[in-house]
């Protein structure tokens, strides 16, 4: 591609946009709407993932230590537990600390009065990196000498894992469908511009323009439409997110939901919107011009 052709291609790309102004407007609006939903869903999934991760970390595995071991020996068991791959944190508690917590939890409950520290075992409270691997990790814990019993809530771990998986699959499906919708709309806009200029294209072919040269103005048109849609969607997403986060922060009932500030999402969001705009614009126009060129070559 010669440098002196770049100006021509850009000019033709812009001309294509205005040739079917309303259709271009519709393409940008649909792209903005789709990317806005895609972006909102991505941010929601991101925030929910953080929330689930935080909740996940509260799902602990309790490893009880052989009562015949001294505190120093029991602490060595804790060190060995810490060496396991999936262990995020292993916190040692003596039987005295365990009793204090037990009494505090059952304050005023006469049935538990008279429980002595000697009735309890030293224990290690284990937080896992990935609760989906809980069953495997529990097996490894049992293999550590000095661990005599373990309590773990598999159901809760599975619940979190399922929730994350469902959210991820649902978001992927929604993102794919909406990107496809944007792609089709842009493809259609470019197709209309092409049919409008089919005589010009025939003349271009007749005088010896290469297929690449004929295609490029339409790809530029699709690219500009896609990027315009992406830019507008990004700006709207930012405004909308900040507005909603501010409103949610005012509500006491939704205190548990802590959303990350948009500034923290800036780079991934710019990349996501940019890539999506590029994808729907370039792929949308490329597919329609390819079909058109193949059809007109016959």
């Amino acid at each position: 591609m010669k440098i002196n052709n770049i100006g021509y291609l850009l000019k033709e790309g812009v001309r294509g946009i205005f040739l079917h102004g309303f259709m271009s407007f519709a393409a940008v609006v649909v792209t903005v709407a789709c990317l806005l939903i895609v972006g909102s869903f991505s941010i929601l999934v991101y925030n929910v993932n953080i929330l689930v991760d935080r909740l996940d970390k509260t799902n602990e595995v309790m490893a009880y230590i052989d009562e015949g071991l001294s505190v120093a020996e029991a602490k060595q068991v804790q060190t060995r537990i810490n060496l396991l791959d999936n262990v995020y944190k292993a916190e040692f508690k003596t039987r005295e600390q365990a009793l204090e917590e037990f009494v505090a939890d059952h304050e005023g409950d006469s049935a538990f009065s008279g429980v002595q520290a000697e009735d309890l075992r030293h224990r290690v409270v284990v937080t896992l990196e990935d609760n989906a691997l809980m069953e495997q990790t529990v097996k490894e814990l049992y293999e550590i000498e000095g661990v005599v019993n373990i309590t773990a809530s598999y159901a809760l771990a599975e619940g979190f894992s399922t929730l994350q998986n469902v959210l991820q699959i649902a978001s992927m499906v929604i993102i794919a469908v909406l990107l496809l919708v944007s792609l089709l709309i842009i493809s259609n806009t470019v197709k209309m511009a092409m049919y409008d200029r089919k005589d010009e294209i025939a003349i271009m072919k007749m005088v010896g323009a290469t297929n690449g040269f004929i295609r490029l103005p339409f790809v530029v048109q699709g690219f500009l439409l896609g990027m315009l849609g992406a830019g507008l969607a990004f700006g709207l997403e930012w405004l909308l997110y900040d507005f909603l986060v501010a409103r949610i922060a005012e509500l006491d009932t939704l205190r548990m939901f802590q959303f990350v500030p948009f500034q923290q999402l800036l780079v991934p969001m710019v990349c996501t919107f940019g890539a999506a705009g590029l994808f729907v614009g370039v792929v949308g126009s490329w597919t329609s011009i390819r079909k058109f060129m193949n059809a007109s070559a016959k």
């Binding site: 002196n4 003349i203 007749m206 005088v207 040269f213």
Partner: protein, 229 residues
């Protein structure tokens, strides 16, 4: 040079458009191609411009072997062959200048080259004073001259004119044919498809007659053999 050797062309529907044609048109030659509708003239033009491939036989145009030409080479073949049509095929929303410049632009010519070449070619076809007009403001003869300028601007070694005078009155037809003859005198190979017996005989160039997919006459004396029904 254009060379056909035992060229046959059948369409998918089974219609045999060409049934074994051999001919050679040398560089710088002026040749008329005459014959009734459906005789295979358009198929010959499409074979020369790479729109079609022969079913059998070989076609050589300006150094390209068209029976085995690659798709990506076709634009470069077309830059050596300018084409003029009966219906002009101009872009109505572009000026005379832009129509010609467009043909240079789309093959990647530099702006300065375009600025130098387009006025020269418009002058050659007598449209230098109408460069800012649109095709709709021109007469039929002027529109055809514009189409010739566009075919000429990329300096092709061959020009193919498909019924270039079909939409013009006799006086304008003579003007256009004279212009094509002048361009040929400058060294461009010319292949003109026409039905107009008086023009063919007036210019006394080579005449190839084609009927039912076969060459029935090839004469150097400008003699029009085929009688239009």
């Amino acid at each position: 040079m254009i060379e056909f050797k035992k060229v046959k062309k059948s369409y998918i529907e089974g219609n045999k458009a060409l049934r074994g044609i051999s001919m050679q048109i040398e560089d710088g030659e002026f040749c008329f191609l005459v014959g009734p509708s459906g005789s295979g003239k358009s198929t010959i033009i499409k074979l020369i411009t790479g729109e079609l491939k022969p079913t059998s036989g070989s076609v050589h145009v300006n150094g390209y072997s068209l029976e085995r030409i690659r798709k990506r080479e076709i634009p470069y073949l077309r830059r050596t062959v300018g084409v003029v049509f009966q219906d002009f095929r101009l872009i109505d929303n572009m000026t005379v200048y832009e129509n010609v410049a467009f043909a240079m632009r789309v093959v990647g010519a530099r702006t300065q080259e375009i600025r130098d070449r387009v006025p020269y070619v418009l002058d050659l076809v007598g449209l230098e004073t109408k460069s800012r007009r649109h095709p709709g403001e021109l007469s039929g003869g002027e529109q055809q001259r514009l189409a010739i300028a566009r075919a000429l601007v990329n300096n092709p070694s061959t020009i193919i004119a498909d019924e270039p005078t079909g939409n013009l009155d006799p006086a304008r037809s003579m003007e256009i044919m004279t212009l094509l003859q002048e361009i040929n005198n400058l060294g461009t190979t010319m292949l003109v498809v026409t039905h107009e017996q008086n023009l063919v005989e007036h210019f006394s160039n080579r005449v190839i007659t084609i009927e039912d997919g076969l060459i029935t006459s090839d004469r150097m004396d400008g003699h029009y053999v085929y009688e239009d029904q």
